[in-house]
Symmetry: C3
Subunit: 257 residues, 3 copies
């Protein structure tokens, strides 16, 4: 199985699929090609949340603002999974999540015949197909591949937590405006029906979006396990007036005795 | 075969696919993940029109504004097909169309470990995979599943027809502005080249969009079999100034003797 | 393998897939369903650039503003590939590219039972499935199919080139604003780091987008092999103020001695 992720929209992903299908009859599964353009941080977050749900696979990831520069092309082995893409950090959080931080990175050969603007087609897709058929434990056998002592990564900020206060940041906003913070869901556990103070607003802590009426704000634990600022059938980012990287402080009233 | 439909856009559908592929090697086919958010009525219409073209399959459908509330999670058997999703009516018109109204509904177990915000991944995808491998005639054998005496449905309004007048409503507007009414296509049969009065406008009855020039309005019989208000290479909803649920009256002049 | 391309967005492509899957278990690969609506020229360009990367396949292409009129339904054999769609020229540049101009066209039967608004579902999808299972060398054996002496095509303009000046046109603008001209990439070869005069602006000739800073303009050789006007992490069409079919003149200074 080969999964494909990019910020390419259309029609470029089809060229990557075509190149892969010239080389292997692996099953292809699109993760998404709608990542915000060149936004390696958002892509890295979602890949970390989604790829671990997959069975063993080769994951082709192309969010690559530095294509054609001297940034390396890499493959990472993470247990029974492999990830292929640019060495700009976008692969690393998912790789770590797939194998509990036990990962090995390799530099891929970029041939002179590759274009300087579309390594997804000319470098990464052929490598993903080759690794799929070779086996993820044999990346080193790919011609021109060398083990890398270090590679780029993307770090997400850590929150500060006490019993009643969490100080964190917005990690991403999904396309519906649901605002994912870095505050772990357990901070809100057993507080459903309580009121939380989020920056300067008082909003209910809810188990699900529809606990409040349409258009009403809430904080909840999203499916990724983090505290999410949301509006039932609306946009949380607009109601709370926040965007990625903004600071979020949540204060909980002490539970009733 | 498992089909997938939702209003999730990206990246959430990939998590559902990953969960399914952990459990089965069924073929996956996306119907769409672009249904208007939380619009169960529009989704129900399109699913009713499209799913019957498929060979026997398990159809996973997640348009679920009430996720995490006490709305039930269900599976419906409709002949050789099964549908899996929330009990909010979105499944029912398609289920009825797939087996001529002969359907059986089952309530699915929602385990305590499921998130309250993403039953597509935590409840419906595992159920779809299990039903696929078990067989659609063995839904009752799924652990925790019970037959339901009744389930939610979505009804579409019926038009009133005479020889020369149809009174109906807009069912949906597609992304190009083609406006689908509930008036059956046979109302216009054999009237190509006639003029129809649609609410307050006189427009030609055409067999195809390009019968009129670009930007010109028409009424035609759409591929779903209903009367459609359209503009060749333009937006019918804007020209006719209508939206879903609006009333439509069409008057036909008597045919020439 | 059957590839699918259209300007349908959603949900219509799913109906085409369903019809195909009723008839064959071929692998299905989406090229895109996001071609600009009714824009046969843009679709023809991208199909010409992308389809040749695929292994032998049947390519279903539906960009069909004349559906339901007397435009023919056709299949084209191009070596080991076949293309199926409307006879409006959209298939021809890709067909020529797939087999070096050695192609044969056939008219497909349109049955009376086909809708007049969705030949993708009612004519082209069944034909693609049938040709897939029959073999691309047996298109003539399809019931009602006749060889066509001629068919429509779409021609792209040719540039005028000297050593130091290229006069051409914009072919397409991709969704990110990268502006593809008809000027072949070799015009810029070995000129990286030079300055080019593009219409009235002086911009650097770069091997990759990120050679310049974010928001800065450049000319480069795109992955399709043509000269592209671009802005690193921005929109080339806006910076250069151009759109498809506009004239582009590029002057190169003589290389340093």
């Amino acid at each position: 199985m080969i999964t494909l992720s990019s910020d390419f929209g259309w029609p470029y992903p089809a060229a990557m699929k075509a190149v892969i299908l010239q080389r292997t009859d692996a099953r292809l599964v699109d993760v998404t090609h709608s990542f915000p353009r060149h936004d390696t941080r958002t892509a890295a977050f979602w890949l970390r949340e989604i790829l671990p749900w997959f069975p063993p696979a080769v994951h082709l990831v192309v969010v690559d603002p530095g294509v054609g520069t001297d940034r390396k092309a890499i493959a990472i082995r993470a247990g029974e999974h492999a990830l292929v893409g640019p060495d700009n950090g976008v692969l690393t959080p998912a790789a770590d999540a797939l194998n509990d931080g036990q990962i090995t990175a390799y530099e891929l050969e970029v041939r002179d015949t590759a274009s300087h603007t579309f390594h997804g087609r000319d470098v990464f897709a052929p490598a993903a197909a080759a690794i799929h058929d070779l086996g993820v434990d044999r990346i080193e056998d790919l011609e021109g591949t060398v083990r890398l002592p270090e590679h780029e990564t993307i770090d997400f900020p850590e929150p500060t937590l006490t019993e009643a206060r969490a100080s964190g940041r917005v990690l991403v906003v999904d396309q519906f405006g649901n605002t994912v913070t870095n505050i772990p869901g357990h901070f809100l556990r057993d507080r459903a029906a309580a009121t939380a103070r989020v920056n300067d607003a008082s909003v209910p802590v809810c188990r699900s979006y529809a606990t409040v009426g349409p258009g009403q704000p809430l904080v909840t634990v999203g499916s990724h396990g983090y505290v999410e600022l949301a509006v039932n059938q609306g946009r949380g980012d607009e109601w709370f007036d926040v965007q990625p990287d903004d600071r979020i402080r949540i204060d909980l009233a002490p539970p009733a005795p």
